[in-house]
Amino acid sequence: MRTSTNGHRQGPGRSSYPARYSAAGLLRRGLASQPWPPAWQPQPMKGSYDVVIVGGGVHGLAAAYYLAVNHGITDVAVLDKGYIGSGGSGRNTAILRSNYLTPEGVRFYDRSVKLYQRLATDLDYNVMFSQRGHMTLAHSDASLRTMRWRAEVNKVEGVDSEVIGPAEIKRLAPFLDVSPAVRYPILGALWHPPGGIIRHDAVVWGYARGAAAHGVHIHQNTEVTGIDVAGGRVRGVTTSQGPIATPVVLNATAGWSTLISDMAGVAMPVMTYPLQAAVTEPVKPFLSTVIVSGTLHVYISQTDRGELVFGASVDPFTSYSMRGSLEFIEGLAGHVLELMPALTKVRLLRQWAGLCDMTPDFSPIMGHTPVDGFLVDVGWGTYGFKAGPVSGEAMAQCIASGKPPEIIAPFGLDRFGAGVLVGEKGAAAVGH
């Protein structure tokens, strides 16, 4: 496979979009009062596919898209027990960045940011990627030291990151309280200009439309109830809509990754935690960067509509429950006001929770498993959305070539048995 560094998709592919999106098309259809055709059409389910992908989120749909576009494998089904993007892909806070701690992590997420930069062109879909800059605040000498370390690793890998002081922080985000007379004074920050936010639903829909245009079947409301394994090989899956014969199953779920892997008899080092987020009423634009504080367990960004999106760390105990808690909102509001006291009168609109599959080393699990034909792209913890494109691209290559590409080689399931972990807790535990 050809490799490129500009993030553009690598094959010509033959797409058949119901309608291409363009400014001229918008004007023409607007003037003619012509409705748009649906972005993609559901297809009847077949009895067998070359590849079945479990999970219709950004990871599963991106894998299907790159299988079709980069490798010409189009006999692919993507199954979701709800609607596409109803899991983690629609519940995250849509922050993208690549300022990680380990060289493996930085290279991987940098590739993802590069793919996101070209995604709107590749998919013919406006994903509204705004590279507004990402700022991680340091409230202690220890976190400032880690940030210097991260900045140096980033620079070596060619990623734009630097440590800045309170004066520069105040210039970039005037509403932040940088005075020393607070409980957690801001001592500095890791400033990462390529980071930003994106519209996560558009990413899901763009990939779904792109994959469907290349012949991929997307089956919503189709729950996988079992995986047939015989002689150490995958034979097919059983679903709520009937059985499907297939030699390759990719588990691309978040939250339910243990349950799907259990169906194939593969043990997982995963614990599922809820993570809560909240959004305020819209206010005038005042915040042009993404603000993250690991110490205060909060990250803040302002959407194009003006709403402030807040997220936090995972809940303190494992659960599959997606209910919000008052305790979370109280803590979150206190921490946000510690950073931006001017927000006292802003009202919260709603809160929600998503499920995060946490691994022991805060890195994902990607690639083959002891069961032939059963692959995983799971364990995405709190950082799965930002890795969607690169994971899809890498998993597609893994399926097409039969071996994991170098970029995901460190993330294999066998690393736990071998004791070779990729410790990303310092850069992934809270920061988003």
Partner: protein, 92 residues
Amino acid sequence: MILLPCAWCGPRDAAEFAHIGEVSARPGPDEVTPGQWRDYLYMRANPCGWTRETWYHRQGCRRFITVERHTETNEVRSVSAAGAVRAGEPPA
């Protein structure tokens, strides 16, 4: 958040506790292979349903308890003393 009935203190806010994790059998470090030891360290059942787990009442009686909890509804079915265990070492 949820109420967790401590075996000694009665129902308390779960925020008072530290969630230690699933109860699993700890193999003897002298007898196991490195692979078995790493399975014990890292692999988790992580069920969506009833699970037996250890909690530590750090802001209360500072004792360990074994709780049967449903991970989807957070309903608690039974609570018992975890016995003499240290942090991170749930009983076999």
